[in-house]
Amino acid sequence: MTHPIEAFAARLRTTLAQTTETLELGGRWPEAIPLEGLIAIMLVLLAAVSVALIAVVPIVLVLMERKISAYFQDRLGPTRVGPWGVLVTLADGIKLLFKEDLIPPQADKMLFRLAPYVVFGSSFAVVAVLPPFRSTVIGNLQLGLFIYLAVSSLVVLGIIMAGWSSNSKYSLFGALRGAAQMVSYEIPLGLAALMIVMTAGTLNMQHLVMDQVGGIHRWYMFRNPFLFIGAGIYFISSIAEVNRTPFDLPEAESEIVAGFHTEYSGLRFAYFFLAEYANVFVVSGICVALFMGGWSSPIPGFQALPGIVWFVGKVLVLVFVMMWIRWTVPRVRVDQLMAVCWKYLLPISFVNIVGTGVVVLLEREGWGAELPIGIGHMMWIAVPVVLLVLGLLAFSGTAPVRPRPTTVGR
C-alpha cells in the first residue's frame, strides 16, 4: 500500500540526510532511520494534532451554540467565566470531569462502558478524511469520501449500544429512534455524495476540492441546479445524521428525557457531548469539501488568505446555519421524519442523479463547449423553464383539488 505519507516520509528522510550533509553535522544517522518508524512517528503526530484540534472544536462550538441560542431568545447567554463568558465551556468540561461516573445497577456494565468510546471513536476517526488545506498528506485518501460514509455509519452502533445497555425505557426508545433515523438518512446522504462522485470521478477529497478551485462559480453546488438541490439534500440529511433539531428525536428532551444518553453522567456523558459537536463540525466540513469548494477561495483570483482560513470559515458558516435551524424550527414527529426521508428526499435524490448524469454525459460529449458558460450553468435556465412548462401542462384546465374536510372524533 503506497500512501502519500510514505512518499512524504521518504522525501523527509532524504531532506534530512541532505541537511546533515550540508551542515556537516557528520554521521549517516538519517539514512539509518527505518521508513516505517518515520511513518509511525508522523502518523502519531498527525493523530495527536487532529485529536487536539477536535478537542478544541467542540469547546468553541458549544460556546457558539450557547451564545447564538441566547441571542435568538433575547438573552445574554454565558457572561461570567472569562471575558464575555468565553471560558464557560472549559469550566463545564472541568465540572464534567469531576462529576461522579454513575452506572445504573441494572445496566449491562460492559456495553454501558464501551458505548461512549464507540460513538466518540467513530466520530473522531472521520476527521482523517477532511481536507482542511492543500496537502498531499492530509485528506488525500483515495477512498476518502467512501471512508467517511463507512465510518460515520458506525456511530449508530454506539447509540444502540448505549441505549440498550442503559436498561431504561427512555434510552431504548432513543436508541431505536436513532437507529431508524440514521440508517434512513444515510441513503439520501449517500446519494447526494454520489452525485458529486459522478461529476468529479473521484472519491479523494483533495481531488474533489482541487476540481473546485477558481472561484464560487466552480463550486459543485453552483455547477448545475441538480447539484444545488443535492447540496440541500446533503445538508438536511447531515442534520438528521448528527441528531440535531428538527431531527433530534433520539434525544428529544421533552419526550424521552435525553434519549440514548439519559443514564450517562460525568466523563462518559462528556464523550457523547464532544462527539455530537465533533460530528457537527465533520459533516459541515464534508459538506464544504463536497459542495462549497473546500479550502479554495470563493473569489476568482483572490489568493491572499491561506486555505485553512477559508475552510474553517465556510464550516463555521454552515455550523451557524445548523444552530440557526436548531433554535428556530420545532422538532418533527417520527412519522414526519420518515416521510421527509423516504417520500421526499429519496425520490428527489433519484431525479437529481439522473439529471446530474445527463449533465455529466453532455459535458463529456463536448456539448456547450463553444458557449460562454458551461452546459451545467445553462441548466440553471433550462431546468426552471422545463419545470414551469410541465407544471403548466399538468395543471392547466384542472380544477384545484379541494381538500376533503376531515371528520373529527370518528
Binding site: F146, M161, H207
Partner: protein
C-alpha cells in the same frame, strides 16, 4: 509494528468470534460480531485491500449489523432470551464447520489468482485500470483495452507468488504487455528492482527490456545502450552524461516486478509519481473473479448464508415458545 497490529487484530477477531458463539445474550453476540467484522475489515487493510475494507465496514458493520440489532430490539421479547445450543445440533454444526474450514484452507493454501493482479494508474490518479492474470486461464486478461482511460506514465506492480526470474514472472510480464498493447500503449519498460547485495537498504533498479510491439509474439524490441542508460537514470532520477532526465522521454509504462514494498515506495518517490492505488481489490470485486471463476463457491456460500439465516430465525423462534 504492523506485525504487532496484525496479531492484535487476529486476537481480537478470534476472541470476539468466540464470544459470538458462546455468549448466551443475543445482544452481546451481536456486538461481539461487530468487533469480529471490524477486525476482518482491518485484515483487508493489511492485505492492501482498502476498498474491500471500507465496503466491509459500510455493508456489514454499518448496514447489516445495525439491521440485526434493530430487529432484535424491535422484537423485544427476545432480548432476555438465554440462548443455548442443544447437543443434537453439535454434529451438523461440526460437519458444516469442517467443510467450510476445508474450503478456506483450499483457497488460501492452493494457488489463487488473487496474487497476480497488476495495477495501473495515471499519475494524477484520475483513472485506474487493471489487468488480471489468473493461473488457470493464462491468456485471458480483463484487458486494458476495454478501459476507458489510457494510462500514460504509470507503474504497474506485479505481485506474484513466484517472485524474481521464474517462468511465472516472465509469463505475467508478457500478459501485461499484451494487454497494454491492446490498450494502445506502444512502449513499455520493464524495471526490475531487487535489493543491493552490498547494501541491503538500497535497491538496484534494472531496466531490462522494452516492449514495442505486441503483435509479433511479444517480441522484445532492441534497445540501445544509450536509451537503456537514459531510462535507467530517469528511473533513478539522476542526470547522466548527455541525458538530462527532462530530455528523456518518460516511459509510457513501467512494470515493476519483484519489487517489495519499500522499493516500490522509493521508485515512486524517485519518479515523482503519485501513489498507486492498489486496484487489485477493485478488480477482484468488480467483474471477473467474483462472478467468473468463483461463481460456484460464491453461490454456494450465498445459499449457505441464506440457510443459516433462516435457521437462526427458526431456532430463535423455538426458544421463544419454550
Amino acid at each position: 509494528m504492523s506485525l504487532v497490529l496484525f496479531y492484535g487484530f487476529v486476537g481480537l477477531a478470534l476472541t470476539s468470534a468466540l464470544i459470538v458463539v458462546t455468549t448466551r445474550n443475543i445482544v452481546h453476540a451481536a456486538f461481539a460480531l461487530m468487533v469480529t467484522l471490524f477486525s476482518v475489515a482491518a485484515f483487508y487493510v493489511f492485505l492492501d485491500a482498502d476498498f474491500l475494507a471500507v465496503i466491509q465496514l459500510l455493508v456489514y458493520v454499518g448496514g447489516i449489523l445495525v439491521l440485526v440489532l434493530f430487529g432484535v430490539m424491535m422484537t423485544s421479547g427476545s432480548l432476555l432470551v438465554k440462548l443455548r445450543a442443544p447437543v443434537r445440533q453439535l454434529a451438523p454444526a461440526a460437519a458444516i464447520g469442517v467443510v467450510l474450514l476445508g474450503l478456506l484452507l483450499h483457497v488460501s493454501i492452493g494457488e489463487s489468482p488473487w496474487d497476480q493482479f497488476v495495477l495501473v494508474e495515471n499519475p494524477d490518479g484520475s483513472a485506474a485500470a487493471a489487468i488480471q492474470g489468473s493461473a488457470s486461464e493464462r491468456p485471458s486478461l480483463a484487458s486494458l483495452a476495454t478501459a476507458s482511460v489510457r494510462p500514460r506514465l504509470s507503474i504497474a506492480y506485479a505481485s506474484t507468488r513466484a517472485q524474481g526470474e521464474g517462468p511465472a514472472d516472465r509469463l505475467l510480464e508478457q500478459e501485461v504487455a499484451t494487454a497494454l498493447i491492446g490498450a494502445g500503449i506502444q512502449r513499455m519498460y520493464v524495471v526490475q528492482s531487487r535489493p543491493d547485495t552490498l547494501n541491503p537498504t538500497r535497491h538496484v533498479v534494472l531496466v531490462e527490456k522494452r516492449v514495442t510491439s505486441l503483435v509479433d509474439d511479444h517480441a522484445e524490441a532492441d534497445i540501445s545502450d544509450e536509451e537503456l542508460a537514459s531510462v535507467r537514470e530517469a528511473v533513478a532520477g539522476r542526470p547522466v552524461d548527455g541525458f538530462a532526465p527532462a530530455e528523456v522521454s518518460r516511459p509510457e509504462m513501467l512494470l515493476v516486478t519483484g519489487a517489495d514494498e519499500k522499493a516500490r515506495v522509493a521508485l515512486i518517490g524517485d519518479l515523482g509519481l503519485r501513489e498507486v492505488t492498489d486496484v487489485r481489490t477493485v478488480v477482484g470485486l468488480g467483474d471477473s473473479v467474483m462472478l467468473g471463476e468463483f461463481l460456484l463457491p460464491f453461490e454456494v456460500v450465498g445459499a449457505l448464508l441464506l440457510v443459516a439465516l433462516i435457521g437462526a430465525a427458526v431456532v430463535s423462534r423455538k426458544e421463544l415458545e419454550a
